[in-house]
Symmetry: C2
Subunit: 297 residues, 2 copies
């Protein structure tokens, strides 16, 4: 991204965090970026497009950082989630303008695209937390997964509000493990309950959103990989290369068959396939990668 575009994003974000979206004008944003008002429109078509860019940019930043230790660190699930939570909290604080903006104005609804984007991000966030809690506490809480995710989310938000908006100096190294210890208490108290408050019917919009994009992407990618295999079979690769490529493709298919496929595994395999330096492979990968990026991230 252009340096000046980044400058505008940062200036705008700072203002949005401090004064809110509606109280920050293009005038102020441009001035804070060292530009005249009208020059803003060389970089963004409108204030709303700026907002959408900001949300996408920072959300991706946060997700990437958390995902980065999904595979690298080899730890018990609970410890790994605790580390991910700690990283998430520290990233929240690092990009506190973004979080403050989100905490202040939970929904900038008037624009439909922003509304849909925020809904998508919420659905993905709920899905991610649910998967992590399921991995830690196992099937015994699967009925109460949505309730547990909701409570965890509420607790994290409330502490983040104190830290970022009220500028209260909480020990961030302890926060994640403190909250997780409290989740232990919540979960041990929950097993005796018969019926959850939130079930998959009530939360269908959130659940199905993620499911649809996931299943959709899986099916699209699956089709592409079948085509990929056909092309490789028809090409004049050495027997060894042919075998390597095929087993890579099958590994991708295996990963996609999981409930919660790991994007980093797939992208690692893409890198491996790219190392063959064959244009025909690169072209197929870029087609699949586009689906992965648009539907699974």
């Amino acid at each position: 991204m252009n340096d000046k575009k980044k400058k505008i994003i940062q200036s705008a974000l700072k203002l949005f965090g401090e004064k809110g979206y509606h109280s920050s004008s293009i005038q102020e944003i441009s001035e804070a970026s060292g530009l005249a008002k009208s020059s803003f429109y060389n970089y963004f078509q409108s204030k709303e497009e700026l907002m959408i860019t900001i949300i996408k940019y920072y959300y991706e930043l946060l997700v990437d950082r958390v995902n980065s230790i999904e595979e690298i660190v080899d730890l018990p699930t609970r410890e790994k989630f605790c580390q991910q939570l700690t990283i998430q909290i520290k990233e929240f604080i690092k990009h506190k303008d973004f979080i403050q903006m989100q905490l202040r104005e939970q929904s900038i609804d008037e624009n439909d695209e922003i509304h849909k984007l925020l809904f998508k991000l919420r659905a993905e966030s709920i899905h991610w937390y649910s998967m992590q809690l399921k991995a830690i506490y196992g099937d015994k809480i699967s009925d109460h997964l949505l309730d547990c995710t909701t409570m965890l989310n509420g607790i994290i938000k409330e502490y983040m509000f104190y830290i970022i908006v009220d500028k209260i100096d909480i020990d961030t190294n302890r926060l994640a493990s403190f909250i997780l210890d409290r989740m232990d208490g919540i979960i041990s108290s929950i097993t005796s309950i018969d019926k959850p408050l939130l079930d998959t019917d009530l939360m269908a919009n959130f659940i199905n959103y993620k499911l649809n994009t996931l299943e959709n992407a899986k099916s699209l990618i699956s089709t592409e990989i079948k085509e990929f295999k056909r092309i490789i079979d028809a090409s004049n690769f050495s027997k060894l290369d042919h075998e390597k490529v095929m087993s890579s493709l099958e590994a991708i298919e295996d990963e996609l068959a999981n409930d919660n496929p790991k994007i980093v595994v797939i992208q690692g395999l893409f890198l491996y396939l790219k190392s063959f330096n064959k244009p025909i492979i690169d072209e197929m990968i870029s087609r699949i990668d586009q689906i992965v990026k648009s539907r699974l991230t």
Copy 2:
């Protein structure tokens, strides 16, 4: 309050909840109230004054409803708090436009008076929840009172967001007891921890705010009551009446000496004192009542 003024408040609140404070214009508010734009200014000096009126009006409504069963219902503390939570949740839903507005825009900061008001209400809310939790779980959690209040607040907010903003149909009869059962789990998990995340030093602004107004009010009222007693002594009441009035005043002093004086007890005693139908008593009461209203509600 004037009927038309109420109409404006309700129309405005609906718009603020749906579109947000900044996206709702005086024009829209006036039209929704069946008035021309300029007629709005016959009822409110400005948009900000309208906002302040709305916040004070609805917050008082909610607090009064919850306080109404503080004394009337004779139940174990835990059951009473559970009932109060249930009432609070149902009141939240009844006045969902107000809550939606609060959830959407956590702070309308640019105006200093609104900022101070919202801070005061937050401090009072934190104080109330802390007192309730202390009453239920006793001294064993007194070190972790602020953490427990924070988590309880976060959980309630998150569920309210689902109910009011996402319109998810959660069983509100079960919600309060469900959350309280989870608080049991949180509290039983917390006893082993040595050091809380939030202590009274970090939260000094919130704690002291309530403390200052409370101590301040106590001292002011105490002075007034001493003067009151002096006047009664000098007046020509019958011996019986004199005794009754004096013991009422002493009961008020006793109540104020408590950590968390109950406003309803004091106001009950005011009503009793008014029943004497003496102008001199009524005048004193109205002076003290003004202090109570402005500092303790």
